[in-house]
Symmetry: C3
Subunit: 475 residues, 3 copies
């Protein structure tokens, strides 16, 4: 008989019995609260069309670069998981892909991926046997049957998951059609907000070979002449406003570093001209990118969009994989981050502006206690982004909480951000976060650093109050 | 009825009952030991004049940049807390400032600032209600009444707090009048040593616009001709001796990096001449600063003053705040530290000198296990400075203990340094340190890495033996 | 009466009783498994000649730079410990050295060195009193008597310690005589494999003053003309093959950084020529070293030797100590490591090659979660080296496990590497690792992230399965 797969109600709570009791009581208060997801990568089309998820592999496996990554390291080819193959995957292919996951189940021992998968398999699909080569087909069948149920469509799940707010990530030239459709559906949009996020990275990188075409497209989308820097800036402001008009609350940014720079207008305009004429040197293109990035903060002070940054990762580290499968397949590797010096120009210009909220994420844990928490404990605009990507797992999250809280307090932390494209993992991720909040707060209670009533209130604030306030959702 | 504010006797002890029992027994031995405070920023004038502390805001809030910082981040203006306003604060202003603190009490949840404040409010002032807008005035009254009691003057408190040794931080040109007064008061000085610390940073920075005037002042204070490097060095040695004659046991240093350099004498003298004539390039000024800093270690080998370094922080990161309020208001942000390569010249020259003790602090936690503990586990002069400033809080301190101890042992750790100007927080900080020592040692005992009798002895050494030995207080 | 020295059977297990029970059950399964030691520094001569260990000081103290280091920091001269004095140490000298260790016993409180020593003193020698000046001679006598017993020779101990596989570290020009002798002894070699490791660092460093002679020697050993780069490469390949023929399974590498570089053949050949003629600039020598290092990965794809890297340490930081005592006496200090950008050229060329296994160690803990685990969670060749040297101690190891596991899983971790020359400490180190595995896995079990049967299986894999697979011991 196959071993059971179970979901213990005390998972992630402290081992110490007294601490566990406190954690249970705190989690009992937050577990039923709605989900607010201010940044992620769920395709808005899914929700607009309310599409069937297809099949277990297509829903759980193929699009999840966290899992693909580890399976790749353990010898599985991405194409065998369906990556880059779209609709050509047959039923047999999908079952084979799913079996690869099940066969490698023990390679996921101790990982966050296994934790989230278990939560979904047991909690959403009612699977009760441990994945393995033997149980793979049966599990596949259970999930496939569930996917066919009428309440297993994106909008019904959004309701069942209690997702009250979710932000997608979108290109500045996107017409945001799906968002408009969803907003127009009063029955749905009254209880659920699905909003876009302005993600202009590519348009700020003059060193990209396709930058000129991108800027042309931006001008066309905005109906603006981008022949000069001023025209470019007007186009950017117009598209930000377009996003804001479609519900956006934030812009998101990811460059190789966090260096900011405020160039004199004429110098920036000169570099822009050179870049548009393909004559900018590498140094000039870099300086212009840093200036344009910093200028997004100025625009944010004007239009009020929250600015989030996800910096310092070497994208597409594996050239072969990039050539075969494209971006976002799991081969991005973090690099060190410097924030203190890098952000001084931006923060000296806008750091205490009452209309500016600036959320800093990192993949370099060192900067939590050395730079990010100290910055957030002084500048009014700066908020501490929660652990992201490689470090969005239980131990990392607990390290984060212990590092930043005693320095900056809870009020400077942005609240849970799932940043995921794996729709069904959203409840698992948010519940994980609430369990870890409970564990952390329980420790403060049993070591007499916080009273239990304060801990309970604080737990609720981390789930609802902080994201509402920091992402301006109550305005 | 307002919630209670309490101070639990088991605070900061491990949650596990067996570990907690051991921690209690260890702390029972150290809790009554005297306080030795080898580095801090209490104004010596307070003690010399034995002044009334004024009022609750002036004592607890206005001068504490830890609290100001977090309140600023949460939207409070520093001027509303009295920063930069001195005696112009009226009773109403002070009450309003104090209410701001109480209203923001939950913004301090989980922070070290809240821990220290609670310890003071309950332990020293007998406050028993949780701070809030409603309770603010009542708490203010309780504290104000206590401040008027005759035993609530600095010298009486120093006695009550069992502070047997405290070092202030002073400018090399200071005449150390208050220290002389205190030393002359035999009744007081027999039981309490209040000594100055030589802090020459500004005089070692040829890149400062006011460096020439500073050096002139140094020459005047020393009665030495500072026209040449040799004269400057004589002046520096003379002022160090003057401090030593007034009881100083150490010099303290804080520059933007830790790079050391021993220039050939003639090259250093040439750079000094250029700097004095205002002709040193930025690189030359930097090289000269590094040489002069390194030369303090040579002087330390001669006069025996312990050398402590607090490096790598971007001072006055917020230009606006610096302009409005000046330095030390909470807007300093740490930067990364490199010590291994940086210190090699200094340590190769003086690192094993029997008269040289060199205590290295950091705000970059990475270097504890990577560089500082390894250096202290080889060089006889090097001691590991305890966590400082942003990281002088319970979780950070426990990380520190776990990182450095198993590599370098307890004997290479300098013992608790409070580094504070908040006089009444000194007992809270030292008791926090002793509780965390107890927690750490209890863990070693219950995991059978140390016997309990050894742990008890070790705890006492950390409180008294190590600072006495490392700061040469027994000589 | 002197305090007892004991070895508690629950040492290093979690304090929480439920977690401790799980840890005990896991450890009960792994504690009797054989030791596999794929990298270390035991002199093969010891085993080949099956020599008497001499005396307690010579066996436990003089060659152990971990202990020497801490004693040096605490004021002991290395020569008083026998360092650099070889056979000139008299019985009285040895007893005096051993007394220095015992007198400084409390300076080892809380360190890994104390943990390992206690394990050896009690577990191997039956010592039952705590070391001190008073007990030193008696302890010395107990150990000395044990050393004279017939079962206390290297081969008998290897058997008693259940060491089934051990790799030494050897110069590429070494004739591997002792290894051949051991292999020829069928009675011994059937149950115990003692294999060499190819350590070519010096031959890859054109900046060394002795590089030309070293390359000449390499050519002579290989019987190849090293007048050109191609000849040099042939010589290198031949010596690797020679090592492989003598049982080697890996090459080991340690340079000041991890930067890799694949130069065009003609450019590399040109730099080689210049270096051989003594005309390479510092930059050229550095580029050539990086190219030659990267080329070892290419050779590894061909001959299948596993490649391990131990980068980023400032060797012989203390110039005086180096002059008096030479290398490896304890004065090496870690520096920061960058791996993501540095390894991209190597990994883009060979990172997913099925014949290439690449184990990355670090002394900079920051890169575990930021770079090494992410790399190992994508590239098939990359494995995470366990904590090494300054960080091979319980707290560091637990941090490591918590940082890398949830990101990359257990399958990407290389298993315990003791890297020691202290032969008798090998069982203590491996048992420590197994206890910490048990502690870590117990935590996953009690927080319901892993079932206990999975944890037990995983524990066994970490001890036997992972090293067998990753170091290709089953081929």
């Amino acid at each position: 008989m196959a071993p059971k797969l179970t979901l213990h109600d005390d998972r992630l709570f402290p081992a110490d019995p007294a601490s566990r009791d406190v954690a249970r009581r705190i989690h009992a208060v937050t577990r039923g609260l709605p989900i607010i997801s201010p940044h992620g990568h769920v395709p808005p089309r899914w929700l607009a069309r309310n599409e069937h998820f297809g099949n277990p592999t297509r829903m759980l496996l193929t699009p999840d670069h966290y899992i693909n990554r580890v399976l790749h390291a353990n010898g599985v080819d991405l194409s065998d998981l369906g990556v880059g193959r779209g609709d050509e995957m047959t039923e047999a292919d999908n079952r084979r892909a799913f079996r690869l996951l099940c066969e490698h189940w023990s390679d996921l021992n101790g990982t966050a991926m296994r934790y989230w998968l278990t939560d979904q398999l047991v909690g959403i699909f009612g699977v009760d046997v441990r994945p393995s080569a033997e149980t793979s087909d049966a599990i596949y069948d259970v999930i496939a049957a569930r996917l066919d149920e009428p309440d297993f469509r994106p909008r019904q799940l959004m309701d069942a998951f209690r997702i009250r707010f979710i932000a997608t990530t979108d290109d500045p030239c996107d017409d945001l059609g799906p968002h408009a459709e969803l907003a127009a559906d009063g029955g749905f949009s009254e209880a659920h907000r699905v909003v876009p996020t302005f993600r202009p990275d590519r348009y700020l990188e003059p060193a990209r070979p396709d930058w000129n075409e991108l800027v042309d497209a931006l001008g066309a989308a905005a109906g603006a002449d981008v022949g000069t820097l001023d025209g470019y800036t007007r186009a950017m402001a117009a598209r930000r406003q377009y996003f804001k008009d479609h519900g956006a609350v934030s812009s998101d940014h990811s460059h190789a570093d966090l260096v900011t720079l405020v160039l004199p207008h004429d110098e920036a305009a000169r570099l822009y001209d050179r870049a548009r004429r393909g004559r900018a040197s590498a140094d000039e293109a870099l300086a212009l990118r840093r200036h344009l990035f910093t200028d997004q903060a100025r625009l944010a002070c004007e239009d009020g969009l929250v600015m989030t940054v996800h910096p310092a990762v070497a994208r597409n580290h594996d050239a072969d994989a990039f050539e075969h499968y494209g971006a976002d397949v799991g081969a991005d590797i973090p690099v060190g981050l410097e924030a203190t010096r890098a952000l001084q120009p931006l923060l000296n210009a806008y750091g205490n502006d009452p209309d500016f909220n600036f959320v800093i994420f990192t993949l370099d844990e060192d900067v939590y206690s050395r730079e990010i928490a100290p910055l957030a404990a002084w500048y009014r605009s700066v908020y501490i982004g929660v652990p992201w990507w490689f470090i969005d797992a239980p131990e990392s999250i607990m390290r984060f909480k212990r590092e930043v809280t005693e320095m900056a307090g809870f009020s400077r932390v942005c609240g849970m951000i799932d940043d995921t494209r794996a729709f069904c993992s959203i409840p698992a991720r948010h519940d994980m976060s609430r369990r870890l909040d409970a564990a952390h707060l329980a420790d403060l209670v049993v070591t007499h650093r916080l009273d239990e009533d304060e801990a309970v209130e604080q737990a609720g604030a981390l789930v609802v109050g902080n994201p509402m306030r920091i992402f301006k959702l109550d305005r």
